[in-house]
Each structure stands twice: as structure tokens, then as C-alpha cells.
């Protein structure tokens, strides 16, 4: 499993994009994943540490790595702004 971001596309410049396949750009498991039970604080810390704007959310069932969805930095920023608006610590 992997993910291709715009940063990775820029890094891959020079490849023939007309013939290149996704596997030529993505590094398998290069993008850290979280599960549905990962605390949001851990997910946000992971995004900040790895300088990425999205995380793949995978199943937390034993033996399964099924993709459940994506977590975006923009959603986290929106949450922080709304929490700050309401006066909550965020």
C-alpha cells in the first residue's frame, strides 16, 4: 500500500509520465498509516513529524490492512480553528 502526493510527483520529475506506472513513483508503505482506534493526537503528531498532509486509515481488525479512508491535515486545521473559536483549548 502506498500513496502518491504532489510532492512525490515533483520528486519523480524526469520519469516519462506517459509510460510510468504508479508503482514507479510510490514507495510501498512509504506513507504511515493509522487505524480507526488511533488517537487523533497521535495521528496529528505523525503528520507533523513526517511533514505529510494526509494519512491512510486502515482497518484495525487483526490480519486486515483494508483501507477505510483518509485523514487530511486540512480537516485537522478546520477542527483547530473551530475549537479555538469556541474558546476551547485546541
Amino acid at each position: 500500500m502506498g500513496l502518491i502526493s504532489s510532492d512525490m510527483m515533483i520528486n519523480a520529475l524526469g520519469k516519462d509520465f506517459g509510460t510510468a506506472r504508479a508503482k514507479d513513483i510510490v514507495t510501498p508503505d512509504s506513507i504511515p498509516t493509522v487505524t480507526l482506534s488511533t488517537p487523533i493526537t497521535d495521528a496529528v503528531a505523525l503528520m507533523a513529524k513526517e511533514a505529510i498532509e494526509h494519512l491512510i486509515v486502515v482497518s484495525d481488525k487483526a490480519g486486515s490492512r483494508a483501507v477505510i479512508g483518509m485523514l487530511f491535515a486540512s480537516d485537522m486545521i478546520a477542527y483547530m480553528a473551530k475549537a479555538g473559536e469556541q474558546g476551547a483549548v485546541s
Binding site: 502526493s5 504532489s6 510532492d7 510527483m9 515533483i10 520528486n11 520529475l13 509520465f17 493526537t41 496529528v44 503528531a45 503528520m47 507533523a48 511533514a51 498532509e53 491535515a73 486540512s74 485537522m76 486545521i77 478546520a78 483547530m80 480553528a81 473551530k82 479555538g84 473559536e85 483549548v89 485546541s90
Partner: protein, 136 residues
């Protein structure tokens, strides 16, 4: 290309910065001095480090990344790509050197370039700026 540039002053709160980003759907905010010249940049990453903290207690200059890179809007896009790959930073603030001040005229991100690659063959930042519409 981002539609123009959103900017804040160094003393604006981090909460204000987060709200600007959220309201405008921008991935970065340029921090400018009183004269409107580029001083630093705040991206999602700088903000995420402050998740769970009181955003009103911190100022933009507390978390911004200093920005001293000169990117001319006349550069070919390829030169910007080479710079991004070399410095591993994918938000370039475009400053027009012919104006004489470091006023930001646009922001170029890797996402903009990927969009550009998908739709155009060659050009300069100014084309991207025009594609983006208004600039500050």
C-alpha cells in the same frame, strides 16, 4: 496556483492563522512585516505541531518558518521544480524583484505544478499567477 496570497502580521495569533487557512482553503499563510514584505511562512505542518494547545496564546512569529528564498515570477517552472527538490520544501513564495520590495505576489506549491503538468506544456510563473486569478 493559490488564488493570490493570504498574509498575516507577526503579532497575529496562531488561532487567527488557523482560521485564515480554514476560511480560505489555503495551505499556507505568508507572514509579512509592517511594510508588507515577506518575513516567514506558516504551513499546515507548523500549525499541526500546536494541535491541542491554546492557539490564542501564541503569535505567528512564534511558529513561522523564516523565509529568505528569492523566487522570481519570470523563472521557468522547471527552475522552481529543481529548487523544490533541492531544498525539499514545496511552498515557494513568489516575490517580484522588479518592484524593489519583497512583497509576495503568489505562492507556488507542488500541487500547483502537478496541475500545471497535467494541463500545460511550458511557461512561467506569471502564467500560473494568471491562471490563479487575483493576486495580492
Amino acid at each position: 496556483m493559490h488564488k493570490g496570497v493570504i498574509s498575516c502580521l507577526a503579532d497575529d495569533s496562531v488561532y487567527d492563522v488557523a482560521k485564515m487557512m480554514d476560511d480560505n482553503h489555503f495551505r499556507s499563510v505568508v507572514v509579512v512585516n509592517e511594510g508588507g514584505e515577506v518575513w516567514g511562512i506558516i504551513t499546515y505542518r507548523e500549525l499541526l505541531f500546536h494541535y491541542g494547545k491554546n492557539l490564542r496564546d501564541k503569535k505567528a512569529h512564534d511558529i513561522m518558518r523564516s523565509y529568505r528564498i528569492e523566487v522570481d515570477p519570470q523563472w521557468p517552472v522547471e527552475k522552481a521544480i529543481e529548487l523544490m527538490n533541492r531544498i525539499k520544501y514545496y511552498h515557494l513564495i513568489i516575490v517580484d524583484p522588479h518592484v524593489g520590495t519583497r512583497w509576495p505576489v503568489g505562492i507556488l506549491t507542488s500541487f500547483d505544478i502537478v496541475q500545471y503538468m497535467a494541463g500545460l506544456e511550458a511557461g512561467h510563473f506569471e502564467q500560473l499567477l494568471k491562471l490563479g486569478g487575483n493576486v495580492l
